[in-house]
């Protein structure tokens, strides 16, 4: 049975498992090493998710400056 929540999952962009692990490590770094609050970590993850959505879930290892610049242009 498809539910409201499962529909949400289905419409989500395809997950990149490697990116998920990188984001997770970064969230741990922010929280544990830098002592950031939960809300700050959430905000950072939200911003990263926006960027990831913009690049279509492309691997972070293929990151180039042009991607970030294009993303910023689209935000403006």
């Amino acid at each position: 049975m498809q539910t409201a929540t499962s529909r949400k999952t289905a419409s989500m962009p395809k997950l990149n498992p490697l990116n998920e692990r990188i984001k997770r490590d970064y969230a741990r770094h922010l929280k544990a090493a830098q002592g950031k609050s939960g809300a700050t970590v959430d905000a950072a993850l939200k911003a990263i998710a926006r960027f990831e959505d913009d690049t279509g879930g492309r691997d972070f290892k293929t990151f180039r400056r042009e991607q970030a610049i294009a993303f910023k242009d689209r935000l403006a």
Binding site: T3, T5, S6, M12, P17, R21, K23, A27, D42
Partner: protein, 175 residues
């Protein structure tokens, strides 16, 4: 000094809004999030939500976890139709035995219905609004019962301390 109670409650419904839909969780994090044992979280993983990949630690995306638990909780839920009662023995909504139900008073707004399960004859209960009794009377044969509370009883209590009760006892001796 008493030790604090750290035992985990056996919950059937979890606060799903604790899981964030944008991040991934490992087993220990899920266990901590919902206050369940790690083995429970592992069992959930065997039952449904897919991990993001095969690498360790196994990670489950928050949205997938939330969808899985929501579906699981929804499957447990039964909705009784009009005139139906939830039978705790059958664990399903059942109709009343021969459509009979007793109405016991509760408050000015609500009434308590008691009936027998049409399948297993177990006693079933349901609390309804008094305003709905008229609609229920169309599908159930409702019978009003006397209140179980002493203060609502019309007959006087012979053991009471009140003067009027003593008078009542003298007029009608217990013998």
């Amino acid at each position: 000094m008493r030790k604090p109670n750290r035992s985990r409650a056996k919950r059937r419904r979890h606060a799903l809004n604790r899981a964030k839909t944008g991040i991934s969780y490992d087993i220990a994090e899920i266990a901590k999030l919902f206050g369940v044992h790690r083995n429970t979280a592992r069992q959930w993983l065997r039952e449904g939500p897919e991990t993001i990949d095969d690498r360790r630690p196994l990670l489950i995306h928050g949205a997938a976890l939330k969808a899985f638990l929501a579906e699981r909780q929804r499957a447990r839920k039964h909705v009784c139709g009009r005139g139906e009662f939830f039978c705790f023995k059958c664990r399903a909504p059942r109709t009343a035995y021969e459509g009979m139900a007793d109405v016991a008073g509760c408050t000015a707004k609500i009434a308590k219905l008691t009936a027998m399960c049409a399948v297993c004859e177990t006693e079933m209960h349901r609390t309804v609004r008094r305003a709905d009794l008229g609609k229920l009377a169309l599908v159930l044969n409702l019978k009003s019962m006397a209140s179980e509370r002493l203060k609502d009883r019309p007959e006087a209590n012979a053991n009471g301390d009140f003067e009027k009760d003593r008078v009542h006892a003298e007029i009608e001796p217990a013998e």
